[in-house]
């Protein structure tokens, strides 16, 4: 097995020779060739754009109540008005503005949640994979314990104990998601350590630090970025679920989950209250799933070659 791995592959040789700019251009070409990847990137950029520029593009203050205009349907209904394109909620707040601001909550939770989970997971996974032995056994048994529990149940119970706040939600997702990153990191570290190029680096006299930073870490980046995309999508999903149960950010914060929870009470009479936040979650989740599928193909050279 080692000998087969040691034969240099044509495309990986080229990758080493390329400058950063060439590589970005290469990734760009790969992206362009995969239409669903392009669609995913564009869809995701709209969400990022909405979150970053919310105060500029939202037509109203998402918290501004106006009971006179409450429960207005979207503009294309007879009773609707173009002043509130997507209609208003039960307190007369503009739904378009709330959906736009909701992107901030979702992306904040997703981004920081993944940041915490991937950092902790990288450390625990790398330590377990590199040191092995008893440390590995202890870390992995905790990881397997948490991963074998029903995730939604765990998150719901912790959220119920801790109470509603943005920081709590981020911490809950960040910590409960750490085991997945740890498991993937450990698996990759074990695989890379046994690979031919690490073996030859060791026999060429490379030290531990050099092996970790020159050979192991660069090879971890691909799988972890892919995992991060899928996990961020999952966190956005679960945050909305928690919000729906009234366990996420405080009710005053315009988040998609909170909007769904509020809209649920008016489901039959004012269905648009829950339609928009639901579509927003679906849009974001779809974009990240497309993006993740594409990243998985592009960042893993073995899969890249298999594609036409």
């Amino acid at each position: 097995m080692a000998t087969r791995e040691m034969i240099p592959r044509a495309d990986s040789m080229l990758d080493v020779e390329r400058t950063l700019r060439d590589r970005l251009a290469y990734v760009g070409r790969l992206l362009w060739r995969d239409r669903s990847g392009v669609i995913g990137v564009l869809m995701f950029l709209t969400v990022v754009f909405a979150a970053v520029f919310a105060p500029l593009i939202a037509p109203y203050d998402p918290l501004e109540q106006n009971l006179r205009d409450a429960k207005m349907p979207p503009a294309w209904y007879a009773e609707g008005s173009w002043e509130h394109i997507l209609g208003t909620d039960n307190l007369g707040r503009d739904l378009l503005s709330r959906v736009i601001y909701g992107a901030r909550v979702s992306l904040t939770v997703g981004f920081f949640g993944v940041l915490i989970a991937s950092t902790l997971g990288l450390v625990f996974g790398a330590v377990a994979g590199y040191l092995g032995g008893r440390v590995d056994a202890v870390i992995m048994s905790v990881v397997n314990l948490i991963l074998s529990l029903p995730y939604l149940l765990v998150v719901v119970v912790i959220a119920a104990v801790l109470g509603r706040s943005l920081l709590n939600v981020i911490l809950i997702f960040g910590i409960t998601d750490t085991p997945i990153f740890a498991r993937v990191t450990r698996g990759e570290v074990l695989r890379i350590r046994q690979s031919g190029y690490v073996e030859s680096a060791i026999s060429a006299g490379a030290g531990t630090v050099r092996i970790i930073f020159d050979h192991i870490v660069p090879n971890l980046i691909g799988p972890l970025i892919t995992l991060a995309t899928f996990e961020m999508s999952a966190m956005i999903f679960y945050e909305a679920g928690l919000g729906f149960l009234g366990l996420s950010v405080p009710p005053s914060v315009p988040s998609w989950g909170n909007m769904l929870a509020a809209g649920r009470k008016y489901l039959t009479s004012y269905p648009w209250l829950s339609t928009w936040p639901g579509l927003a979650i679906m849009w974001t989740s779809l974009s990240m799933n497309l993006l993740g599928d594409w990243l998985r193909d592009v960042l893993d050279p073995r899969l890249r070659r298999a594609r036409k």
Binding site: S148, V156, T268
Partner: protein, 306 residues
């Protein structure tokens, strides 16, 4: 085989201990379980009396020993809301949750696997494209939102199916479909890629060149190998459905464990919450154990410890 199974049982017992430790310390995350469980209007005297009654003022290690030894025999204390032992309240709700999760799994399996098989044998065909789209949507649509939409269409609009409760035999259809959809999508993708992968294996080429009937090759060589990854996913997903139906149950007012959990959280009835958490985790661990056993039956490599 026996050794493999015994080691799995041993691991499950360790996991059970782990669950008890996690749950015990979870309640103490905020520092004071007494004020967590009492209503926000409770006076300091009431909280102190409650703390005394629940034994929260004893040393932690004593409390844990007390909690763990009782929990092992199924005693999680009394529900604060119902004032009766917590575990029977959970068990009472079990049949409804199992019925919901079982139906959801059945829907996912009988729709998802055939679509995945057709897609894997005919990549690029119409059924394959539609199946992959359904799979992608199934994993991207928030199921609680889909639940609301389906209620609007099938219960409110068309009036075909009940929108809540568990009174009619058709009541289970909408919640089970919503709960099963993400698994359905996953099964489509997994079956499809497993078929594609196994079709390219050397032993399939050998079978073809031996002149075996394609039907025999598909049934004996391909399907058996496809079954291996599917079994573990089906087992894991069933566990997730048992523990993850809280949102769906609360939307459809399905009287199962998930709905009880939502209510218990609302009542700050933490003994009941703990009983649900431990019981459901145990059920999931048990299903994982069964999955491992099924795995070993299907895949001889695992049985003989390779």
């Amino acid at each position: 085989m026996q050794r493999y199974f015994l080691s799995k049982v041993g691991q499950s017992i360790l996991l059970l201990l782990g669950v008890l430790v996690l749950v015990f310390f979870l309640l103490r995350l905020t520092g004071d379980p007494a004020s967590l469980m009492m209503s926000r209007e409770a006076t300091p005297e009431q909280i102190a009396a409650f703390r005394e009654a629940m034994g929260f003022n004893r040393p932690l290690i004593v409390q844990f020993w007390d909690f763990a030894t009782k929990a092992i025999v199924g005693d999680f204390g009394d529900s604060l809301h119902y004032r009766t032992p917590a575990l029977p309240l959970v068990l009472e709700r079990l049949p409804a949750t199992v019925q919901l999760a079982g139906t959801a799994l059945l829907i996912a399996v009988i729709i998802g696997i055939p679509i995945g098989l057709v897609g894997g044998f005919n990549p690029g065909s119409l059924i394959d494209s539609v199946g992959r789209l359904v799979a992608l949507l199934g994993q991207s649509i928030p199921n609680f939102w889909l639940a609301l939409i389906l209620i609007l269409v099938f219960a409110v609009g068309l009036g075909w199916l009940p929108s809540f409760g568990r009174d009619a035999p058709t009541s289970v259809i909408l919640p089970a479909f919503v709960l099963g959809l993400p698994t359905l999508g996953q099964l489509v993708r997994l079956t499809r890629s497993a078929v594609l992968e196994i079709r390219g294996e050397d032993f399939i080429r050998t079978a073809h060149s031996k002149g075996l009937q394609p039907r025999v090759i598909y049934a004996k060589h391909v399907l058996r190998n496809v079954a291996i990854p599917l079994i573990s996913v089906i087992g894991i997903q069933f566990g997730y459905m048992l523990g993850g139906s809280i949102i769906i149950e609360s939307i459809f007012a399905w009287p199962g464990i998930g709905q009880l959990l939502e209510q218990a959280i609302g009542w700050r009835d933490f003994p009941l919450v703990l009983a649900i958490a431990v019981f459901t985790s145990l059920a999931v661990l048990f299903i994982n154990l069964l999955t491992d056993a099924a795995y070993a039956v299907v895949d001889p490599r695992i049985r003989y410890g390779h």
